[in-house]
Symmetry: C3
Subunit: 331 residues, 3 copies
Amino acid sequence: MKNNLYFKKNNKKFSLKDILLKINYNSDEEAINKNIYGINSLKEANNNEISFFNNLKYLNDAKNTKAAACVTNISYKKYFNKNKNIYLILSKNSLIDFYKIVSLFYPYANRDNEKINCINRNNLDSFSFKKVFFGNDCLIDKNVSIGNSTNIGNNVIIKNNVKIGRNCSIGSNVILENSLIGDNVLIKSGTLIGQIGFGFGFDNKKRIRFPHIGRVVIENDVQIGSLCTIDRGSLTDTIIGEYSSIDNQVHIAHNVKIGNYCMVAAQCGIAGSTTIGNYVKIGGQSGISGHLKIGNNVKIGGKSGVISDIEDNKIVMGYPAKSIREFIKNK
Amino acid sequence: MKNNLYFKKNNKKFSLKDILLKINYNSDEEAINKNIYGINSLKEANNNEISFFNNLKYLNDAKNTKAAACVTNISYKKYFNKNKNIYLILSKNSLIDFYKIVSLFYPYANRDNEKINCINRNNLDSFSFKKVFFGNDCLIDKNVSIGNSTNIGNNVIIKNNVKIGRNCSIGSNVILENSLIGDNVLIKSGTLIGQIGFGFGFDNKKRIRFPHIGRVVIENDVQIGSLCTIDRGSLTDTIIGEYSSIDNQVHIAHNVKIGNYCMVAAQCGIAGSTTIGNYVKIGGQSGISGHLKIGNNVKIGGKSGVISDIEDNKIVMGYPAKSIREFIKNK
Amino acid sequence: MKNNLYFKKNNKKFSLKDILLKINYNSDEEAINKNIYGINSLKEANNNEISFFNNLKYLNDAKNTKAAACVTNISYKKYFNKNKNIYLILSKNSLIDFYKIVSLFYPYANRDNEKINCINRNNLDSFSFKKVFFGNDCLIDKNVSIGNSTNIGNNVIIKNNVKIGRNCSIGSNVILENSLIGDNVLIKSGTLIGQIGFGFGFDNKKRIRFPHIGRVVIENDVQIGSLCTIDRGSLTDTIIGEYSSIDNQVHIAHNVKIGNYCMVAAQCGIAGSTTIGNYVKIGGQSGISGHLKIGNNVKIGGKSGVISDIEDNKIVMGYPAKSIREFIKNK
């Protein structure tokens, strides 16, 4: 969440008392007069910030967090026994309660903003851009930055707070928002980058949509196919590492981090918060569940379903994905 | 088919004689002078309407139908033995023959009409809409209705005969046609709703495209992701029940009915005429065959292939999908 | 590659010496003074052209090629022992070296050109088209040809060098480039046809993008769904045979050839260079690997993964796809 340029929180701080009120909790402890200045992950939170813990995968981060407060499940209280400085909000529905608290700080981050303060189209070519080619009918927000020698297709929509590097090619009908795009990046036509992810919960049957305050970061020399969706991160960024290559119709959910020199073939889907190493090859139509860790140099056969972590250098296939040797033996 | 506002049949009635001529059948029975005023499903047809039966899943409906006439397979004649009031058209190619008859009543329903009688763009904001925000370059047909406080993105196309409720958010590059959309609905960018489905047959190697006279009905508080396709119904409506949530790149075919509070993860596909209960959760990249019935509270694991009905409360996984216990045992 | 209208190679010829220089090879043989006038497949190359061999599937073509020169792997030298007229370029990275040579002849074919020399929109209807209906805001290049009675939707982009036949229906938001489209073709909204495919390699960690000099050829009476991607061919054309039908969200990679009267259900993916016969039916969400040959009248069950050739008339299912009898027995 460092360097998050895109959803500046409003400047107000909130006391823990305010925060508890937002989620209909009461307390008369003295601690609740402490002011909280932001939300952050367990790992990155400082002692002015509030964090969240409801997945044991992050147990180590929980044990070592410096956060001032943490929303967590009642049954997870024990994991914080050694941390006397943290204020725990023990919740029956920790995810929803945390959503509500994040929304205090980022009230506009749970939707996509379609308002564009457009550069005058008849003047696009000269508007502070150098050697940028624009196709027809583009809608470019005035605060977008585009590097030299980048080509933009037709009917492209680039919203508020997008930075594009040099020498990129952006196809037609592309929509970009809340994204940081490096140099030499190719994005084929019809791809959507930076929209809110599929994160929400229900509170008394009312939908609470999760704020998405992260960006999509596309590093240098990445190639992305047509009709892909790459959703922006909820609390951290969604990242595609340099020289990685993604084919058509791929879906990459919020918070996914893909390393460098990876190859993702057509119609793959990667669920939220999964991390993928470098030099990973993923065959077409494969799916990877959320919150997994895929090592470096892993090869995943086409149409595989990966539902657990994979160590470096493994070759896997099938559903659930297993070593290719075992896959062939069983078939 | 009640309340079908979108493809008003022309007002002419057709005698059974006219109908038989259309499909190159002859008869000199007296019954063929009877007039037929419309087509309908076996269940809903009245005694002025013609219906269709070629799938034993609908045997019960066939036995109890009140339809004046029915196109069916020669071998299905026996199922109508007790119904003396029905005129049976025993066909060698019942599907194609029925297509042709439907086209008599709905001659323009087998295609998507790209003609829009557009509201003047410079005047969009004031055109009978209250507090509706429009992005740039929208094409909105004059007969579209949009509720208060709804936001419409950029380059959105809303064709003839669409009604949108209040407080909705429609992303950019969305295309809507033949659809009824409730309140508080979110539709992310790039999604297409209400187009004709994948229904056709061949008659002497010539393609006969099935008329699609149904709508897409999106109920209140539904959320639909980016780059989804939800095709309109052929004879009945395609329906997404209230509070249901659909992620990116999902395909929902004609006549599918999804209940309330369901969750459909990214890249799922649901084939034509399948019915899904309430509170059903479907993992990413799953596929469900056509004409199935999935019960309430069913959980379908990611990447599953469902090829038979599922009872209430079951948890299934794999392809063909089976109970999760069995799935794990066999892997 | 015959009749390739779309990426006319520049008129210069290149000597084998020039060609070797381009890939940093040296030779002082006399043969390298020979001029090369183009590149071609092993099968179609004449004795003025250079070709490429790195896949044993094409061994027979290699043995019989008339090409003047061929880039191949060092270990493949033996297959050319009987061909004394060919100049072999034995490469450590034959694919990349060939990419570089193709780029000499077709320097602009490794990207999609977003520049459109647009017909004036206010004048679209009269511009040399007869009875062509255009929706709003189309971008049509001046050199596009469109047959009588064809309907074009809204926001459609048709780039340089596209020919469309008569009586077609093109939906909204469609993008066409480098394509030849027959008569009576239906293309639903949001589909992208003719873009570059997913072909590239790395040379010292620098991406070399493969030139795509082929077209997409859509034959008469084809139907293509919404949000499909059909990439243009690299060295040959991508072809969809007459009367074939493709549902929504299908991906068809470069060089794929689909026969006549095929049916491809929603969300299928067909990888590069695979050839499919006539009357083939492919169930939804199936994937077919690259460089395969699928016979006539084959039926592939939904969600199958095909990783080897299939003979005529077979019915297969599962992953890896096997006969349906075996599939059911094992489940």
